[in-house]
Symmetry: C2
Subunit: 199 residues, 2 copies
DNA sequence: TCTCCCATGTTGCATAGGCAACACATTCCG
DNA sequence: CGGAATGTGTTGCCTATGCAACATGGGAGA
C-alpha cells in the first residue's frame, strides 16, 4: 500500500486531498452531522470504495485531515519556532491559509461535535509550546498544575480564534497575536498572583 | 479509451476537470503564454504523461475546455432558448458561474493570444442565436452580409462582457442584459437605416 | 408488524493513470 | 563554441482506483 522509501504515489496524495476538501466544503453547506460518505465521495469525484481504502469513516477522515494540517503547521515551525510572539504570528498566518478548514473546526457554524476533538488536539499543541516558553517561570511548586493552566489557556485561545474567524474583516495576524499575547500573559500572571497572595 | 455506451469513467472526468481548473488558475497567475505543461500538471496533481493521453498540448486543452463550457451553456439553453432578452440573461448568469474562466478568456488580463480564438467561437454562437431571432428583419437583399453584422455584434458583445467582468461590483445579469439589448438593437437599426438611406 | 429505501461496508475484476526512462529541441550561461 | 538545464512528447510496466455486485442495518411509512 504505502511506499516505504519516501514519497507516496501521486494518486494517493491527490485522492486524499480531494476527499479532505470535499469534507470541508460539504460540512460548510450541509453540516458535518448530515454529511454522508456518498456526499463526500461524489463531491470529490472519488469512488466510494476508494474512500474506504483510505479512511474508516468520516470521523477518521476528519481526524486525519486535522493531523495533516498540523503537520503543515509544524513543518512551517508555526508553534515550536523562535520567540513566543513570532510563534503566535506564524500560527495565525497559518490559520489564514486554511480559512475554510478553521472556519469549520472553530467557527460559529462548527458542529458541537467538532469543537471538542479539535480543542483537545489544540490543547496538546499549545501544551508543547508553553512548556518550552514558560517552564522556568512556572516552576514554583505552589502554582496550580501546568495541565490546568494549559487547558484554560487553550480554551481561551480557541475562543479567541473563533472570534477572529467570525469577524468579516479580520485583523492582521500580527495585531491579533499581540492581543492574544497580552490576554495570555494576563491569565498566567493573574493565576501566579492569586497563587502568591494565598497561603 | 472511451466507453461508447454513455458515461465516461469517473477518473477520466476527474482528470480533465483538474487539468482544466489548473489551466485557468495557472493562466491567472503566470499568464497563458508562460504556462508550461509541467506547471499545469503539477498544479492539477496529474502526471505529465497522463496529460498527453488527453490533450495534444495546452492549446488543445484550452480549446476543449472552451467547448466543455459551451456544452454547459447549451444544456442550460443559454443562447438558443426562448425570447432574446431572456436568452441574454441566461448567458450572463452562465458567465457568472465561471468567473475565473471568463475572466481569463475575456478580461483585461487576457493574453492577446486568447481573445481571438474565443471571439471566433463566440461569434459562431452568436451567429446561431441571431440567425434565429433576426432573420426576418434582415432578409432585405440590400442589407450588408449577415456575416459582417454578426462579426461586428460579436466583437461588441465581447468588449461589453470584458467591461462587465472588469467591474469590481458587476451589475446583475438582468441589468446588463438590458443594456446589451439596447446597444445591439442600436447597432442593427443604425446599419439598416444607413442601408435604407443609401442608394 | 412488514416492506421499501437508503447508507454503510466489502469484494473481484477491469482499466486509467503514475512512474521511470528515453530521445529530442530549446534556451541560457561560462 | 559547448554543455548544463529545462521543456516536450513517447513508451512499458505496475498499481491505485473505478465499477458492479453483494450483504447488512437502520429508519420511514403503509
Amino acid at each position: 500500500m504505502q511506499k516505504l522509501d519516501g514519497v507516496e504515489d501521486l494518486r494517493v496524495r491527490r485522492t486524499r486531498k480531494l476527499l479532505q476538501q470535499a469534507l470541508i466544503e460539504g460540512t460548510v453547506d450541509k453540516g458535518f452531522a448530515a454529511l454522508t460518505v456518498r456526499d463526500i465521495t461524489s463531491r470529490a469525484m472519488v469512488n466510494r470504495s476508494t474512500f474506504y481504502r483510505h479512511y474508516h469513516d468520516k470521523y477518521d477522515l476528519l481526524e486525519q485531515h486535522i493531523n495533516a494540517i498540523y503537520e503543515v503547521l509544524e513543518e512551517e515551525g508555526g508553534i515550536i519556532g523562535e520567540g513566543r510572539h513570532e510563534g503566535l504570528i506564524e500560527l495565525f498566518k497559518h490559520i489564514q491559509q486554511f480559512p475554510d478548514f478553521y472556519g469549520v473546526v472553530l467557527g460559529a457554524q462548527a458542529d458541537a461535535f467538532l469543537s471538542p476533538s479539535f480543542r483537545q488536539q489544540t490543547r496538546q499543541r499549545f501544551l508543547a509550546y508553553f512548556q518550552q516558553t514558560f517552564s522556568e517561570a512556572t516552576s514554583d511548586p505552589e502554582t496550580p498544575p501546568l495541565d490546568l493552566k494549559f487547558t484554560t489557556v487553550a480554551s481561551a485561545g480557541c475562543g479567541a480564534l473563533a472570534w477572529w474567524l467570525e469577524q468579516e474583516r479580520p485583523s492582521t495576524p500580527e495585531q491579533f497575536a499581540h492581543w492574544m499575547q497580552q490576554i495570555i500573559s494576563d491569565i498566567l500572571v493573574s493565576t501566579r498572583l492569586r497563587q502568591d497572595s494565598e497561603p
